[in-house]
């Protein structure tokens, strides 16, 4: 069970595009804070989808709780790429 960074990023981009209707989702697309592309309700839905992906496709139990979850500077949720890197790192660990 091994998923590449690019596959994780693609999954998140697809989910995000589906949730928001955004067509230009990239690794830099912001998930939290001032320039976020989705509201908190959609963020919850995204987290659930990503958690399920991590569990089923990557074999990773992802705990999204974090004191820095809403930090635009430090959060793994700060953008699509950061989240994808975080999950890929968890898989590699």
């Amino acid at each position: 069970m091994s998923v590449t960074y690019h596959e994780v990023e693609a999954f998140i981009r697809d989910e995000l595009a589906s949730l928001t209707g955004e067509v230009s989702v990239s690794a830099d697309t912001v998930l939290i804070g001032q320039n976020r592309v989705l509201d908190s309700a959609d963020l919850v839905v995204l987290l659930l989808a990503v958690e399920e992906f991590a569990k089923e496709k990557m074999g990773v139990d992802w705990d999204w709780t974090s004191d820095s979850a809403m930090s635009e500077a430090r959060s793994v949720l700060r953008n699509v790429g950061a989240l994808a890197h975080h999950l890929a790192d968890l898989q590699a660990a």
């Binding site: 309700a41 919850v44 659930l48």
Partner: protein, 232 residues
């Protein structure tokens, strides 16, 4: 209230008191009940699991299988402890235990169960406070602090959950004849009951009636509210 064929309701504090009463009534109504208690149940007509709600890992272990279970429709956070004491004579460890069980336990259980309701696209969360919050009863300050926290948490959490069709409400009973108040002097109970708008001591069934209302499909527009049993 008419449950779907496999609708599941999680009830904390289901081994005694209001939690046990509500869990039993839910079971009789036809729901699948998953009860949580601190100790193994000797016998129960519904499923009981052991968990300390104040311990996130314990809650997660007990309810982990329900996190993605779309049959989960409701969570009733009835686990609670109280200690009649003046603030200055309450041991620090007791203060911590009351806050951790009543407030933090409620939050942990919401964290464990709400994702399933979001996935389902709807649900009902019912938390418990006390009439002591508006009445500011002497000798219950720590207990009241924990429950005031539950009310504030519930209002804010209701806003987070509203887009997902999940309602979050709080029931605040006066003194109900359960184990929670078995050591409270009769005079004290009568004094509190006398301050209610309806000066009659409530029964567990009075609380169940509100639980039943809040679980019903017809209550889908009721959220972020605290319902005072007996009135304050």
């Amino acid at each position: 209230m008419s449950p779907g064929a496999v609708d599941t309701i999680v009830v904390t504090g289901a081994s005694r008191g209001l939690g046990a009463h509500c869990a039993l009534r839910l079971h009789e109504t036809g729901y699948r009940v998953v009860g949580l208690g601190r100790k193994p149940a000797k016998s129960s007509p519904f499923e009981m699991r052991v968990a300390d709600v104040a311990d996130a890992a314990s809650v997660s272990a007990a309810l982990g299988d329900l996190k993605r279970d779309k049959s989960v429709y409701g969570l009733i956070n009835a686990a609670g402890i109280a200690s009649m004491n003046l603030v200055i004579t309450t041991p620090p460890e007791t203060v911590r235990r009351i806050i951790e069980t009543n407030l933090i336990g409620t939050i942990f259980c919401c964290q464990a169960v709400a994702p399933a309701m979001v996935k389902r696209g709807g649900g009902r969360i019912i938390n418990f406070s006390t009439l002591g919050v508006p009445l500011a009863i002497k000798g219950e300050a720590v207990y009241i602090a924990s429950k005031a926290g539950v009310e504030g948490f519930s209002r804010a959490f209701a806003r987070e959950m509203a887009p997902h069709g999940v309602t979050v409400n709080t029931i605040a009973p006066g003194p109900i004849d359960t184990a929670l108040i078995e050591k409270v002097p009769r005079q004290k109970i009568d004094e509190v009951v006398g301050r209610q708008l309806i000066p009659r001591q409530g029964e567990p069934e009075d609380v169940w009636n509100i639980v039943s209302l809040l679980l019903s499909a017809e209550s889908s527009m009721i959220t972020g509210q605290t319902i005072h049993v007996g009135g304050a």
